[in-house]
């Protein structure tokens, strides 16, 4: 098990290197000049040239990349073009805000999603099943933009229970977490149902029932544990996705997270910020992936022995 974890961890580094190169190259290929955007509206062309020189944008690409890589190795992501602050300093609070929202959303969606999925699987073919699965399709299709505004209208404007936007105490967290959870609940619910149905057909479930085990023990000890792998994978992917920032939810609720940060950085071609954010996202995605793999290995001895 330890060996497995170590090996999987070691693979992260070359991947990050690849991501750094890919993001660097892509930014180079994307049209749009940071100097043009940074320069004030009335700036002369000479001014823009001077700025480009100042930012080192005229240097050969490989020089720029090596300079960036050298900084990366020393843990220095550079300074934002726009704010002149170190990228690490810029990123940290955004990432924390995003983690806060993602965790809240997961806390909301995992139990609800599991209950829906198990319930639907148990009552397969019933009216309840049809209702739950229909709701999950609605949940999957609901645009975050629309849902967020509706929640705001109801809970902030009409009822006045919750603040409509911004970050503060737990009350600010409720509406964006609900918005972000709808999709997760639906997808976790559907995956749980499918996976449970798959397992419930198995012989060992029949055996368990035949030996007179109470139904909830059959479900918990035999069915759910075996159905867990695909559910874990989906939750992991979803979490990784949420860590990259939910741009629309964050914009509607003025949540100062990664999504808004990246969009803003890309629009102003703030290269150091874009690169820093992409590295952080790739790293967190890889880490989440790693965690899921390790969890799967812990849940299923077969995975460990295969390696």
């Amino acid at each position: 098990m330890v060996k497995y974890v170590v090996r999987r961890t070691a693979m992260v580094l070359p991947l990050l290197l690849l991501v750094s190169a890919a993001s660097f190259l892509l930014l180079y290929l994307v049209p749009g000049d940071p100097a043009t955007l940074l320069a004030p509206p009335d700036a002369t062309t000479e001014f823009v040239e001077e700025l480009r020189l100042h930012l080192g944008l005229d240097d050969p690409l490989h020089e720029q990349y090596l300079r960036y890589l050298w900084g990366l190795i020393r843990g220095d992501l550079g300074r934002s073009y726009l704010t002149n602050r170190s990228v690490v300093e810029e990123l940290a609070p955004r990432f924390l805000a995003t983690i806060e929202l993602a965790l809240a959303s997961l806390l909301l969606s995992i139990p609800i999603g599991l209950v829906i999925g198990i319930g639907a699987a148990m009552k397969r073919g019933s009216l309840l099943d049809a209702f739950l699965m229909l709701s999950s399709v609605v949940g999957l299709s609901m645009p975050a933009f629309w849902l967020g505004l509706v929640l705001m209208l109801v809970f902030s404007l009409s009822l006045g229970w919750l603040p409509s936007s911004g970050r503060g105490d737990w009350r600010n967290l409720v509406l964006p977490a609900m918005t972000l959870s709808t999709w997760s609940i639906a997808i976790i619910g559907r995956m749980t149902r499918a996976s449970m149905l798959e397992v419930l057909r198995r012989d060992y479930i029949r055996t368990a029932r035949a030996k007179g085990l109470v139904e909830w023990l059959v479900l918990y000890r035999h069915a759910l544990r075996n159905a867990l792998l695909p559910i874990l994978t989906v939750i992991g992917l979803r979490f990784g996705y949420m860590l990259s920032g939910a741009v629309i939810t964050e914009t509607v609720f003025a949540w100062p997270g990664m999504g808004r940060f990246i969009v803003q950085a890309i629009q102003s071609r703030d290269y150091p910020n874009i690169r820093g954010a992409l590295m952080l996202l790739a790293a967190s995605f890889l880490v989440v992936n790693l965690l899921v793999d390790v969890l799967c290995a812990a849940a299923d001895p077969r995975i460990r022995s295969q390696q």
């Binding site: 693979m11 320069a39 004030p40 100042h54 970050r167 990784g240």
Partner: protein, 565 residues
Amino acid sequence: MTTPRSLVFSLMLVLSMIVSACGSGATSVPPTVAATQAPADVPTQPAATEVEGGAAVTEPATQAPAPTEAPTVSGPAQTELIVALGTEISTLDFQRTSGEGLMVGRHLSNHLVFPDENGEIQPDLAERWEIGDDGMTYTFFLRQGVTFHDGTPWNAEALRWNLERALGPDSPPSLAKTWMGAIDYSSVRVIDEYTVELKTFEPFGGFLYSISNIGGGLMMSPASVDQWGDDVGTHPVGTGPYRLLEWIRGERLVLERNPDYWGEPPAFEKITFLPIPEATTRVLMLETGEVDVAVRIPTVEVERLSANPEINIIGVTVIRPYSIMLNTSQPPFDDVRVRQAANYAVDKQAIVDSLFLGQAEILNSPLPPGVPGYSPVGEYPYDLKLAKQLLAEAGYENGADIVIDCPQGRLVLDTEVCSAVGAMLTNAGLRTQTRIFGDYAQFLDSRTADTAAYNGTFFGWATGSLDPDGAFFPTLYSQNVGKRWNFSQYANPTADEQIMRGHSSLDWEDRAEAYLELQKFLWEDAPWLYLYSAKGFTGVRAGIEGVFVRPDEQILLYSARQTAP
């Protein structure tokens, strides 16, 4: 097996982030408009007096008496003003920030001189100034007894230091460098503790507006830069009516009243700025009362919100002359008749009525109303027959194919206006292909990268400095052909002559005459397809007055107060 999966995911992530951000520039907040009527009862500052003999001298500002009694308000008095902005402030280094950052900056510090609500230059940190006979030498007599928030005294040395930071030989490119770029730094001379003399490179009529532009010339405490270095943008120290209390990036920025302010103390103890990028959310927060002021209210919401007794909507025409800048460097718009035909071919009234619900004015001059020197000089009524006739006279009996470029999500209703204009031009025989740029960076790049690729550009150039020079010089002066903002590639000796006359003269009468001639000429020569200037809207909760929004979209809140119930 898991490794390739992770790799693919990571790369997809990188790709999708970039692609999606490029594709949907519409998420950017349109830098629209906003303006309000000047509240009638805001204390006016002493006016400048004219002195003959080539030199204008301003009387020392007589200090407006501080209010001796607090406004009588029954019930709990509101001490904090909460404002929903459209963007996040990137930095409060006054010499580097832009947009709403400068607006916040104006509450934290002062300029040498600053225009009042009628757009006339008034003393600020300079008590008065003299202009030498050469029209290039300025002597500023500084206000005495002013200190920065950190206790650093405001004096000639502080001014010299600010100029050095902006313009000195080692200064990096900055916003301040642009706005104060007219100053020859090597000529700056400290005469005594409160007197500084400096020269401009050339006589420049818009000089005082340029340095008083909200986008430049805000004074910084020299000690604060020594202390914070590169991080001074997070720790701004000025001379203004407010000082920074708390700033959590992306969440809120709180200012508190500066008890030692040299001028009139503001009524509100605190101002909190919240970055709310989504306009619908701003509107909602205004309705719930979570914010007192919300910028850039969408036009479609105006009617509904106006009916709400809790909310006042203030709208004033903003100084952006929205136009299609016609590329005069190549056919068909190298021919003035085709340019005029395009002007006749578009039904401006229909656009104003259907897209702006009447909340816009059809342009009748290349200058938008609100800029000094503006004068209505003509009109291009919708006349399809005349348009076709002019096209035929120019040899385009069979019409022509043209390309019009349009930024998306950057200006109010930009793509909607572009498709409407495109359809009307096509109808007249100028078969229009509209290229939409979702990404503003790409839009700007392609203006200068290949000027032959487009025949027109939809744009509304904002006159940054509130001076007519800022309207014409960047956009229509021949030396700016091929550079940013002269998207018409316009080079005309007659226009040049008047632009430079207005640019160089220090006598307002003379300048006004030049700009009148210029407006008439440009209207006939039609380098632009003149469309409209739109209104911008700011929402303010009932019970708050004195919010002043300049016609350049900047909002000043230091005179805001609660109305007596």
